[in-house]
């Protein structure tokens, strides 16, 4: 509110703040997974800077009005929640997540319940990744983060078992019992997560690990990794930047123009520009058409209806009806601007001639359309298809980044929070790519790209396991140099250009003493090799 006031004091402050505030808001509140996160906050700034108070006294009153409205908002939300909503859902907590995962581990051997498990796991995964992703900006390393990283890795282990059924062939009674014991231990840990000391937890897990007598295999790897994770409990070009730059540019140019124009109601330029500019190029283009049609129709309605309204009371009542209808309509449609225009023009007509208001409304909208069109077209455009390609490329890049983490792990200790972050990033982007492919039914190579996504997902799961094996010193010191060379070769094969010609050679040369290391690397290389069949469909 203060920033909004300061932005109206001089042209310099207007330009500077309109450049900075939208940029900061998009950068901190929005992401490609929550593109409109900036909207409500930016709207406060934009609306309040449109009709600035004349002096500090008025600013004080405006602040009082704002807090009055906030009080009303708090009371209304409370009232609404009591009246209309079921009890608020319990927010995601680590205890709740761990307990849910324990329950799913218990059900894992039951093949009939696999669809239910998949559904439950997908929900838990989304809830967790959403929470983790939006914590990234101001996050500091603390014990809670360490526990979250641990949970993230446990989820990864679980998903690997859930999506690949081959381990069921080797499932025996003692393995089912081990799974149940692991689930019970997780359940117990979930209940006492806040109270157990690191030492106590380590002892419990160590005992369980010693008790484990089942043969080597997938179930053993899974259970051991779960327990190891419990034991080790302590332990960004893209969309945001592009959209932040675009919004900042549009707001700076439109507000600057509004500031220097000597005509009344010039604030309609930044206001229209603000609503026209959308995170994606396609949405913005659509809004430029619908808002223009709606505004023109609204002007026609106002031209006919306004002379018929009986006095100020009639005008206020008409504008209130119009704004109520505006709330009933879907944002972005061609008819919503009809109501917005009628409301704005009726209010404006109280202080100026109706026909002048109509003319200014159309002129200012045209100015806003020109600004937004230019910014959208020439200044960091974010088309959905381009974003998808960028995301796809990022998935491959993240694969290589994970290898970098593994390399660091070979040379020294790595922090689990680093792999937790990369995991979250990978899953959010993979989900976004999957959603794009689901929605774009005409997309070329759609099915092939979906298959590539799945393979990348498998590869990431294997990298995750590899990282775990490195941390548990499963690669002998004398094997480390060979593995480092292999990592370099794999990275060259996959990114920035997928060649993959030497993958089969690398796979044949796998010689490590620990069979788990050989198994995980072999699986990774097989999946990487299978990507070659889709080479022509990979969009970069």
């Amino acid at each position: 509110m203060i920033c909004a006031y300061v932005s109206t004091l001089s042209l310099a402050s207007c330009l500077l703040l309109n450049l900075l505030i939208p940029f900061v808001l998009v950068f901190t509140q929005s992401s490609q997974f929550n593109p409109k996160g900036y909207f409500s906050y930016a709207m406060i700034f934009v609306f309040l800077s449109l009709m600035p108070p004349d002096h500090l006294g008025e600013l004080a009153v405006e602040i009082v009005v704002f807090f009055f409205c906030v009080g009303l908002l708090a009371v209304s939300i409370r009232f609404h929640t009591r009246l209309f909503s079921p009890p608020a859902s319990v927010p995601f907590t680590l205890e709740k997540g761990l307990s849910a995962l324990a329950d799913m581990v218990r059900l894992l051997p039951d093949e009939e319940r696999r669809p239910e498990l998949e559904q439950r796991f997908s929900k838990l995964e989304q809830e967790f990744h959403r929470q983790s992703y939006h914590q990234n900006f101001f996050r500091r390393q603390n014990p809670e983060n360490g526990r979250q990283d641990m949970f993230s890795t446990m989820m990864q282990r679980f998903s690997y078992l859930l999506t690949d059924n081959s381990w069921r062939n080797e499932l025996q009674e003692d393995q089912i019992r081990t799974l149940r014991e692991t689930a019970a231990l997780m359940e117990e840990t979930a209940k006492r997560l806040e109270f157990l000391s690191h030492k106590e937890l380590t002892e419990i897990c160590q005992k369980a690990l010693k008790r484990m007598t089942i043969e080597e295999g997938r179930i053993r790897i899974f259970c051991r990794s779960m327990l190891h994770q419990l034991r080790v409990r302590s332990s960004a070009e893209t969309f945001e930047m592009r959209f932040a730059m675009r919004l900042a540019l549009v707001m700076t140019v439109s507000s600057g123009l509004s500031y220097v124009l000597p005509f009344t109601r010039s604030y309609w330029i930044p206001l229209n520009a603000f609503f026209l500019l959308q995170p994606s190029y396609e949405d913005s283009s659509y809004r430029m058409k619908t808002r223009t049609i709606g505004t023109f129709l609204g002007c026609c309605v106002e031209f006919v209806v306004h002379p018929l309204l009986p006095g100020v009371t009639g005008q206020v009542l008409f504008s209130l009806v119009m704004i109520s209808l505006m709330y009933c309509s879907v944002p972005g449609t061609w008819y919503q601007p009809i109501f917005t225009t009628c409301y704005a023009l009726t209010m404006a007509s109280m202080t100026m001639r109706g026909t002048d208001a109509i003319l200014l409304r159309i002129l200012y909208l045209c100015a806003a359309v020109v600004i937004v069109f230019a910014a959208n077209r020439f200044f960091f455009p974010t088309r959905r298809e381009t974003q998808f390609k960028q995301n796809f490329k990022t998935l491959f890049r993240l694969n290589n980044s994970y290898w970098d983490i593994i390399r660091q792990g070979l040379e020294g200790e790595t922090n689990l929070s680093v792999s937790g972050e990369i995991l979250t990033h990978f899953h959010m982007i993979a989900q976004d790519c999957a959603r794009y492919l689901r929605e774009q039914k005409e997309e070329p190579c759609r099915e092939e790209r979906q298959a590539v996504l799945l393979k990348l997902w498998h590869m990431f799961a294997e990298l995750e396991q590899m990282h775990f094996l490195i941390r548990t010193k499963s690669v002998r010191p004398e094997e480390q140099k060979r593995l480092l060379h292999m990592i370099e070769a794999i990275q060259e094969e996959l990114y920035p250009v997928i060649s993959g010609e030497n993958l089969s050679v690398i796979r044949r040369e796998l010689q490590y003493q620990d069979p788990e290391v050989v198994y995980v690397l072999d699986q990774y290389l097989r999946h990487a090799e299978s990507l070659l069949a889709y080479q022509s469909c990979i969009p970069f």
Binding site: S40, M51, F66, S324
Partner: protein
């Protein structure tokens, strides 16, 4: 043709029922700010209404709540 108009009408009523709390919030805020502070400050209400709309979108409506809403709208 008649059926189409009935369809539009039904959709409109459905939308109205969904946003009735938002409209009520806006109207209450508008009336209070207009009465207490004056017309020049009513734009603040539009901004706060966006927050109210976002907050209420996240909750699921129950039939009892819809009835209560209708009562509020009617009286």
């Amino acid at each position: 043709m008649k059926a189409t108009w009935i369809g539009y009408g039904k959709r409109f009523l459905q939308a109205l029922r969904g946003v009735a709390p938002v409209i009520l919030f806006f109207l209450t805020g508008f009336a209070s700010v207009y009465a207490l502070f004056g017309m020049q400050y009513v734009c603040v209400v539009s901004v706060v209404t966006v927050f109210f709309r976002c907050a209420t979108k996240r909750t699921t409506r129950r039939p009892g709540g819809i009835c209560a809403c209708w009562l509020l709208v009617r009286f």
